[in-house]
Point group: C2
């Protein structure tokens, strides 16, 4: 049969994520990869997961862990998360939390909740490409969110109307963002809330990396600043998307959205219709592991990732030729590199794999308009310190050679 | 903030599923409930799950089970499913299978793949209300799928065009359907494939209950009949949605879609954008449990559910007053009851809870047009034989009393 005539319009924007496709290709042992932005599996709290799974499946408990459960999520986990949110300046209750299958699903649901075709989503240039992938299904146009810039609400509104819709939300990852590793400072966050207030739109705060701060002072979450303004989470406009993927482990797919009950209630209905609920067992196990070792485990991975971040920044300083710039993240998993002008990240990757046996993610996919190919994302989360040194030496050598070729 | 101005149009159709809401209310020990269409947790293969979870989280294995994995799903599970599909007349490979988070998610993704607002979905009157919930997010209109009826493709096409879209698919559960318990015979399935061919649309075959046949001869899956016509799964129009929820356990949320690679490939991209992948651990554990005990376990639950179905049919014959009719399912979990004319299922439920301490699901929610409130769904999957006898006695007493009240 010819499928094209039955496909919905939204499927025209379905395409493979470069990152996910890369994950498949770059798992070869002879390549030093800085491509996948994934946690180091050697750091997972395996003992805690083993113990928790044993308890969840013990006689008398298993019939609950293996059964259907409510769409909003396992209450003890929602209560644990609410306590955790309180620690970072977000007093709330379990009713403000929906459990999702990873924070990726939260992005999908928020796109589904807000976006009609032609509506505008404000996103960073660059931004997390998985957010663009999730939102694309709802056929928005994108406009550049210039945090701390002096663009006014009226300009955004006018462009959105010209595009045939409304501005529906601003999305950003404020801490150690994927892909840049950069953090939005307090002033930037307040300016964003001002803009959102002027446009009367929600802010989607992607906090996937927020718990991974290795140094510097924490900046309050946007949701905390929103509560400080309004006095009550029920009056806020910020929807905070959290995840256990970067702190405990991603393979159980447990994340959450925290926000005003009015929105959480709608998201619960959406989840009920879309997949009934996140896996019961996974939520029970995650709650037990979190209770058992969240703080200590996060401290442990901080130490490991910090050493790798330090190694990468030191190696970049040692090996990059003139004309290369990069970010200095205070946490997370990524360094964002800008090679000399005119050098394309994708072309560089092809050469890197071929001649230097190293890999990274070309930057273009992170730009909603496909601009700025002159960038690349390095992840330091999975490489050992020696491999980081060797890899940055090779990258520096490659860029120096390519620059020579461009000049010649 | 006022959320209404930022909500997408599709959210107008968000509403609580009566069944899911009922599940919350009717878990009281003093009520005999025939409401929840869920498997009996006492029958879960707990030992097999415990052993499989232990293996998946063993040292050396846990780092895989807890890590990200590919969007299409865990290959050994997809291979096991492909072998299983072959046994029911569907020769295929792992490339024809996408793992989903329960078959509910498959319905959501198929709605997302095919439906633009105003398009028509053909569904049974009644049909699984969770399918309506999933599809509603994509703003279709519904037309009544009359299996084996003599409505022609032209009529469907004309009505769809009048509604402002196209007919995009026919959805049905062909075996022991939720809510009726009825099975579509071979002739009906062939007629459906004829209609789908004439309209050049896909068929979504919801096979959630297909493995639960207690007596009578199996009817080939629609996908098997489609392959028999076309000679090759790649040329078929049927998308088969399978689930482990009714055979092993629902709490791990593992289901699948089987169909032509061209469609599976698009669904993989959709899943990548929506939630990256189903939980790695859950897929590994499910594959191990399936390898270990699928056939024996299904035989065990057949015996238990058959006894309950037999008890319910016998008790209905004993206790229902004149004017009540019901279906005689050869499998699954449901009997569909039509009380005497003029008696509304929802009103009857209110009285049933109040005066007889029994519960069931009123039938109206299963009709896309909200018609036919003069029906109710009984589930026999979770009640013991004695409770079934007592419950049907109370239901018969209630209906007789209500009929008297109506007559008076």
């Amino acid at each position: 049969m010819d499928w094209h005539h039955v496909l919905a319009g939204r499927t025209q924007r379905l395409k493979a994520s470069e990152i996910r496709e890369l994950l498949k290709l770059l798992d070869r042992p002879d390549i030093i990869s800085f491509a996948g932005g994934i946690p180091d599996a050697r750091l997972f709290p395996e003992d805690a997961f083993r113990a928790a799974a044993g308890e969840a499946l013990a006689s008398g408990a298993a019939s609950v862990a293996l059964q259907y459960s409510v769409s909003e999520g396992y209450r003890p986990l929602r209560e644990w998360i609410a306590l955790q949110m309180d620690k970072i300046g977000v007093p709330c209750t379990a009713e403000n939390i929906l459990i999702t299958s990873g924070s990726q699903q939260a992005l999908d649901y928020l796109g589904k909740l807000f976006l009609s075709p032609g509506d505008t989503a404000l996103v960073g240039w660059p931004t997390y490409l998985g957010a663009l992938g999730a939102f694309n299904a709802y056929e928005p146009v994108y406009d550049q969110l210039a945090v701390g810039g002096n663009q006014g609400a009226d300009d955004y509104r006018a462009r959105a109307e010209a595009a045939g819709g409304q501005v529906k939300f601003a999305y950003l990852s404020a801490d150690f963002a994927n892909p840049t590793g950069e953090t939005v400072d307090l002033q930037g966050r307040e300016a964003l809330l001002d803009l959102a207030r002027d446009l009367d739109i929600p802010v989607i705060e992607d906090a996937a990396y927020q718990a991974l701060r290795y140094d510097g002072d924490p900046v309050p979450p946007i949701l905390a600043l929103d509560i400080a303004r309004t006095g009550d989470i029920e009056k806020t406009r910020t929807l905070y998307c959290g995840s256990f993927s970067k702190t405990l482990a991603p393979g159980l797919r447990v994340g959450w959205v925290c926000g005003a009950k009015e929105v959480i209630g709608r998201l619960v209905l959406m989840k009920q219709a879309a997949d009934l609920h996140s896996a019961t067992f996974n939520q029970i196990v995650t709650e037990r592991v979190a209770q058992r070792c969240f703080e200590e485990h996060v401290a442990k991975i901080h130490a490991a990732y910090k050493a790798r971040r330090d190694a990468m920044l030191a190696a970049l300083a040692r090996h990059m030729p003139e004309g290369v710039t990069w970010t200095r993240p205070e946490g997370g998993m990524f360094v964002w590199v800008t090679p000399p002008k005119g050098m394309d990240g994708a072309a560089l990757l092809a050469r890197a794999i071929e001649t230097e046996r190293i890999a990274f993610v070309p930057g273009r996919a992170f730009f909603a308009d496909g601009s700025n190919g002159n960038t690349l994302r390095l992840s330091f989360s999975c490489a050992d310190v020696e491999a980081i040194e060797e890899g940055m030496m090779r990258l520096g050598r490659l860029i120096a050679r390519e620059r020579g070729a461009v000049a010649a």
